[in-house]
Symmetry: C2
Subunit: 178 residues, 2 copies
């Protein structure tokens, strides 16, 4: 059972930005799932685990994401893409920095697409031992309108999945916010 005998446990965490504070701030549920992982699973055994942080950016299909900017050349669009990427990296920096402080190995990367589908595809590619997802813990009525990534992944991801609900004292006034 010692670490030298068995390969490290690879835990994938899907993380996203705060809907209230925006980049580079992590959402309440992402931070909650991360802290839970450290406190309840990794504990003092940092060398036994590797954390894999995936951030999925939703492509801005209609281009209305940044109404105040002026796009005059292909270069401007390229800059916008670079800026999005930079914002995603700042989000990941928060998690990677915490891991380094604690001494737990990690990797992080960004993908574009529909979060629930990209997460399941990345699980298939990476084959982690466990996928940990934060969840807003919405009721059935709210779920109809916003959909939930975690419900989809629990059903379709090809590895064990655990969903960590937000603590009630951390839930914002509008529970759809995160």
């Amino acid at each position: 059972m010692s670490t030298s005998e068995s390969p490290v446990t690879r835990i994938m965490l899907a993380v996203n930005e705060s809907t209230i504070r925006g980049y580079p701030h992590a959402s309440i549920s992402s931070r909650g799932a991360f802290e839970w992982t450290l406190q309840k699973i990794v504990r003092s055994n940092a060398s036994g685990f590797k954390l894999l942080f995936l951030h999925v950016q939703v492509p801005d299909e209609d281009g209305f994401d940044d109404m105040d900017s002026i796009y005059a050349s292909p270069e401007d669009f390229k800059n916008m893409k670079n800026r999005d990427r930079a914002r995603g990296l700042h989000l990941l920096e928060f998690f990677v920095t915490r891991c380094h402080e604690i001494g737990v190995a990690c990797e992080s990367w960004i993908k574009k697409g529909d979060p629930k589908e990209v997460i399941c595809l990345e699980v298939k590619r990476i084959q982690p031992d466990l996928l940990i997802l934060g969840s807003r813990g919405l009721g059935p009525f709210q779920r109809v309108f916003v959909g939930t990534v975690s419900e989809f992944c629990v059903k379709h991801a090809e590895c064990p999945v655990v969903t960590i609900k937000r603590r009630s004292d951390e839930t914002p006034q509008d529970p759809v916010d995160d």
Copy 2:
């Protein structure tokens, strides 16, 4: 993050008997979930965890469980109940013995009732950090007929839940068996 600073992580595992070999043998999915917990979560950090084994016995409503026995007095029925209890204890003995060998703290107990409902009630009472359930990993067609405890608990248990599917090389000829 050291163990002395944070309380142990309390993991509840619901375990049942083999449908093929009967008591005292554990089901394939129970054993799988237990081994996964040791290998991937507890690892070498035995002192950081406490495992809580719950075995739910389904009451024998129609009394046809034991066709060859003769019941002549209330005493016979009492003996039957004691025998059922003893069988359940033998099942739990397997898990408790393994935990003692590894040096991880544990507790185990038996309840009667509908497994999915009793598991959720016990989660409410015990408040574990995580509930780990073995699953046969049945397809949608088979699930309609046999129901699944894990799906119910993922939805209704008031703690994080992770479902560990059986490895395909351990699935019996009839996947409903376990």
